[in-house]
């Protein structure tokens, strides 16, 4: 990433403008794009996509499958199997592009919407449902897949990520060892445009900057924080926030999986090498409701949605693969079939999830159980038992 002033974000992007919905007032700003909405490859002076078409096919598969997972989860919610669901619709490229840029040792701190990143990290999609079904608060072990639990308190995880990255530093895991062909480790924190207003996120920027922590701040600017448009959070493009904290910020077309991959990869590389944090603003759009509980017709116009449909992250890759990479329908059909299988498995798995037992949960509050709580548990167990056989 070229820098004109040390520590200040580069302003040297290709002259591609970020799209602005018809009803939005904000000015057009340039962003990094490598694949146009029409599926044409374009080049950028600072970022290039260095993988082959096989990789692009992989991205297509990833995006298609996570969209299907998401659709299935939404359906499960509609049918009362989940209490709520936070859809990633429209953000597949941002999540797959960044998720696929991660190395095995990199650590992820997600919000509640990073189903695509979870997929990249190998988290069983079924495990994502527990929180929304109300049977657990994330059943996976974050250490198995280097993917932390979903964090719902807006912005809190950016500090966790920064602290984790400070731990990587202290472990000597930052700065590659070229002799051993190791890359170093980095951490990535996901958060939304709304989250950028939280004190915690700004403190994370400060800690990361002051300690030069190997962390990438990946902001999915999907233009909305529930009903609040982006202009409630900032009056200038979000990526510029970073410059004021002394590290680079870059805006990427978040609906372009190639560009998101390239930009995130470079930011992660910087982090792993010991050059400190980067803010990546993935400019995208929340195509669905905030969650299944939300009713976006109350606050936004359908023409915005129509406008953004033309920028769909999956369609453009399909167009590219068809037109420029000679991929035929067999490939797409196979993926559809795979998606069908995954969706069926997800549905079946969801329906057969065992209901949790409160008695077990008494033991989770502390590593070393307190006598009081042990007593509460015993009393509750006895009380619950007194109802057994009642109906």
């Amino acid at each position: 990433m070229s820098e004109s002033v040390p520590g200040i974000a580069p302003e040297v992007f290709a002259p591609v403008k970020a799209p602005v919905s018809p009803t939005q007032a904000s000015e057009e700003v340039e962003f990094v794009q490598l694949l146009t909405p029409e599926g044409e490859r374009v080049e950028h002076p600072d970022y290039s996509f260095d993988l082959d078409d096989e990789a692009v096919k992989g991205f297509y598969r990833d995006m298609t499958l996570v969209r299907r997972i998401d659709t299935e989860a939404t359906a499960l919610q509609r049918q009362g199997e989940l209490g709520i669901w936070a859809s990633l619709l429209g953000q597949e490229a941002a999540q797959i592009g960044s998720g696929r840029a991660l190395n095995k040792k990199d650590m992820v701190f997600p919000t509640y919407r990073e189903h695509g990143v979870a997929w990249c990290q190998g988290v069983d999609p079924l495990n994502l449902l527990g929180l929304f079904r109300g049977v657990d608060q994330g059943a996976w072990d974050p250490r198995d897949n280097n993917f932390h639990l979903y964090t719902i308190v807006i912005g809190a995880q950016t500090l966790h990520a920064t602290g984790y990255a400070m731990g990587q530093q202290r472990d000597g895991a930052v700065g590659g060892d070229p002799d051993n062909d190791t890359d170093g480790e980095a951490t990535i924190a996901y958060f939304g445009d709304g989250a950028s207003s939280q004190g915690d996120v700004n403190e994370a920027f400060i800690y990361a900057s002051v300690f030069n922590a190997p962390v990438v701040f990946f902001c999915q600017n999907n233009q909305w924080a529930i009903s609040e448009p982006i202009d409630r959070q900032t009056r200038i493009p979000l990526y510029q926030r970073a410059a004021g904290f002394g590290f680079p910020g870059v805006r990427v077309d978040g609906n372009d999986v190639l560009a998101t991959y390239a930009v995130t990869q470079q930011a992660l590389k910087r982090a792993r090498e010991g050059s400190g944090p980067t803010l990546v603003e993935a400019y995208t759009y929340r195509m669905g409701a905030h969650t299944t509980s939300d009713d976006p017709t109350k606050y936004r116009l359908s023409e915005d949605l129509e406008y953004w449909k033309l920028k769909d992250p999956i369609e453009r890759v399909k167009a590219y693969l068809t037109r420029s990479a000679g991929v035929d329908s067999d490939f797409f059909d196979a993926i559809e079939a795979e998606a069908d299988g995954i969706a069926a498995r997800l549905r079946e798995g969801c329906l057969s999830m065992p209901d949790p037992t409160l008695t077990d949960f008494f033991d989770h509050a502390y590593v070393e159980q307190t006598p009081q709580l042990a007593e509460q548990k015993a009393q509750y167990a006895a009380y619950a038992a007194s109802f057994e056989g009642e109906n």
Partner: protein, 325 residues
């Protein structure tokens, strides 16, 4: 007389307060076009404009911190915290600034701020959306803490809280937002804000409760009739200060008390109430004040919340214990 829901009661109360006093502002996340995630502020921005119904950035410390400044400028901000679990980023501003301003200025500065918090569980939500953090405010000198339990109280209490020159943390029982009751707007707010209410008279024991547990306790009292027990139910309404006069009077009459709340047992409202009642009514008590409360764990995933939350059976079990002590 119209039948209104508890949520509508707050909404109408806010509207009335804004109509009566141009200095009343409301602020929070998603309270404008969306009308709040519970629709409690529905229609207000349309009628009072964006300057009085302020959609804020997503930053709770900012909501309360700027409300302090607005209050110093003569406004009466009503701040909505979207869910109970999200008030904590604002906790410093509440504890160190809002609560202390009147004291540290030796009475010169007032903080007529209302902090509305939908609280409690029972709606099948994910983590951080079902908390009962009232102790964390009630312990703090300088704050007043109230909870409404029915639509009529909702309507009047929110207006009284806004009219109060002290800062008020106003808890709304989110799972009761849709409960309905008849409201007679012309009646006027006859019942004081900082006063508990005997919502059911009884003789054998008193159930103390507030917010979402009022309905539960009233149902329990009905059910207890089957066991031949005539329970008194007191809706505390004010958690800080507790209305000790009403509390003591009821205990001296029934001689047995059970406090019911969703908040964890230890250091919950019940602990202070028990300590006070024991100090004052020691020789009147036939049994110690018992407590039916949330357990001392974090709030569980929602499939278990029915077991976690005090319900009719757990209340009755508490009544059994206090009667048989």
């Amino acid at each position: 007389m119209a039948k209104i829901s508890l949520g509508k009661g707050i909404n109408m109360g806010l509207r009335a307060a804004m109509e009566n006093d141009p200095k009343v502002l409301i602020m929070g996340e998603d309270i404008g076009k969306l009308g709040g995630v519970f629709r409690v502020t529905e229609g207000l921005q349309k009628d009072f404009g964006e300057d009085r119904v302020i959609d804020t950035p997503l930053a709770e410390s900012g909501i309360i911190g700027t409300a302090v400044g607005l209050a110093l400028r003569g406004y009466r901000p009503v701040c909505e915290i979207q869910f109970d679990g999200f008030v904590f980023p604002a906790y410093d501003q509440i504890i160190n600034q809002v609560a202390k301003m009147h004291y540290r200025s030796m009475g010169k500065l007032k903080m007529p701020i209302v902090i509305r918090i939908p609280f409690g569980g029972g709606i099948g939500a994910v983590e951080h959306h079902s908390e009962s953090p009232e102790t964390l405010f009630a312990h703090v000198a300088g704050l007043k803490v109230v909870a409404c339990g029915d639509p009529v109280d909702a309507y009047w209490m929110i207006q009284q809280a806004i009219a109060s020159d002290d800062p008020v943390v106003f808890f709304e029982p989110k799972r009761r937002y849709h409960e309905k009751a008849e409201l007679d707007e012309s009646a006027g707010a006859t019942y004081p804000l900082y006063k508990a209410k005997v919502v059911r008279e009884g003789t054998d024991a008193t159930l103390f409760c507030y917010g979402p547990m009022v309905k539960t306790c009233l149902q329990a009292a009905e059910a207890a009739l089957e066991d031949g027990r005539n329970l008194e139910v007191v809706d505390l309404r004010t958690i800080a200060p507790l209305d000790l006069a009403t509390i003591f009077e009821s205990v001296k009459k029934t001689r047995r008390a059970v406090v019911v709340h969703e908040a964890p047992l230890s250091l919950g409202t019940g602990s202070e109430l028990a300590a006070r009642v024991t100090e004052e009514c020691f020789y009147h008590l036939e049994a110690p004040v018992l407590r039916v409360a949330g357990f001392d764990t974090p709030y569980p995933p929602s499939r278990m919340e029915e077991e976690y939350l005090p319900d009719l059976d757990r209340v009755l079990e508490g009544v059994d214990r206090v009667m048989e002590y």
